[in-house]
């Protein structure tokens, strides 16, 4: 039914604009969680429960908690911008216009003659039953077996993100008491 699609897409757009425009950072983090939740509902409407599950767990769950943890360390509100950003606006406008011009050539949504439905997908769905010896979930079969190298790259990306956070933020237990005592001595 098209009305649910229109309502959920409108909510997505309104939430995205609110996240960009609001200045109170606590509310912005909450709206990011709401955006992830509505995005997960939208993916469920498109018949993709695996992706919806991952989006709900990561976006509406962990990401909100970690961003709230970050907010405890930074300012509570964004500073108001002092100048009108003309050049970024023109860059965004140009890029958006180029992308919209590019979508004019794309096939219609859900067209069975489209190349994305022709080449890998039917063969994956047909091949997965005899290949996988009875593994019912085609999504896991594609993710972990047919395209397992990409998933290795994703895991490496998560690993790199964790290493990056560790390098920037970790405090050794030995140095923290020394810094604290030196602050007390100086002040």
């Amino acid at each position: 039914m098209i009305y649910i699609d229109i309502i959920i897409l409108t909510l997505l757009a309104v939430t995205a604009v609110t996240v960009a425009r609001i200045r109170d950072l606590w509310a912005a983090v909450m709206f990011t969680g709401i955006y992830s939740f509505i995005g997960a509902s939208w993916m469920l409407l498109l018949d993709a429960p695996d992706v919806a599950f991952t989006e709900a767990a990561v976006g509406a769950g962990i990401s909100t908690v970690l961003m709230l943890g970050t907010l405890a360390l930074t300012n509570k509100a964004e500073k108001p911008s002092t100048s009108v950003p003309v050049v970024p606006f023109l860059v965004v406008l140009g890029t958006g216009a180029a992308l919209v011009y590019g979508t004019l050539d794309m096939p219609h949504f859900g067209d069975p003659e489209a190349p994305v439905h022709q080449h890998p997908n039917p063969s994956f769905v047909e091949r997965s039953q005899p290949d996988m010896h009875g593994l019912p979930n085609v999504v896991t079969a594609v993710l972990a077996s047919y395209r397992g190298y990409d998933t290795l790259g994703e895991t490496a990306v998560i690993f790199t993100a964790g290493i990056g956070v560790l390098i920037i933020l970790r405090r050794d237990k030995r140095t923290a008491p020394d810094e604290h005592s030196s602050d007390e001595v100086v002040t």
Binding site: D50, L66, A156, F159, R171
Partner: protein
């Protein structure tokens, strides 16, 4: 949160349930929605809930930071190690069919043969998802430790 008994009791009631659900999602990825990423996030959120309710030192005694740092690398090692194992067994990188009969797959009891371990694809997907789950859990938990620990040591 030491003076809020309701939240402590509710967390003690629910955290085993959440951990069990994380394991269910991890190993049920073959049959329904699930897999390593979702299970890792749910497991990390259970441990973060424990850290929020009972204090950061209690969470760090359950999951110590030095162990979590090692586990971050262990997950990627398990994943890539599966690929190297398939290469060592003569096939391409991450070609799970090479794992087919190199382990104890058939146990013969008298006249019956039991398939103890699953086929090569099942085994390969299982190992790979375990690797992904370990890495995702450890990274989320480590990020939480970094943020929460920094706040405590800076005030």
């Amino acid at each position: 949160m030491n003076s809020f008994p309701i939240i402590r009791i509710v967390s003690k009631l629910l955290i085993p349930y959440i951990l069990l659900f994380a394991l269910y999602v991890q190993f049920h990825g073959d049959f329904g929605p699930g897999g390593g990423f979702q299970a890792g996030v749910i497991l990390a959120s259970a441990l973060i809930l424990y850290g929020l309710v009972f204090g950061l030192p209690a969470a760090q005694s359950v999951a110590p930071p030095w162990l979590i740092e090692k586990l971050i690398a262990l997950g990627v090692l398990v994943y890539a190690g599966t690929g190297v194992a398939t290469m060592a067994l003569g096939s391409n990188f991450l070609d799970y069919d090479a794992l087919e009969h190199h382990f104890l797959t058939d146990v013969t009891w008298g006249s019956q043969t039991l398939h103890v371990l699953p086929s090569g694809q099942h085994l390969g997907i299982f190992l790979v998802e375990v690797g992904v789950g370990i890495t995702v859990t450890s990274v989320m938990l480590m990020i939480f430790y970094c943020f929460a620990g920094r706040n405590q040591s800076s005030e």
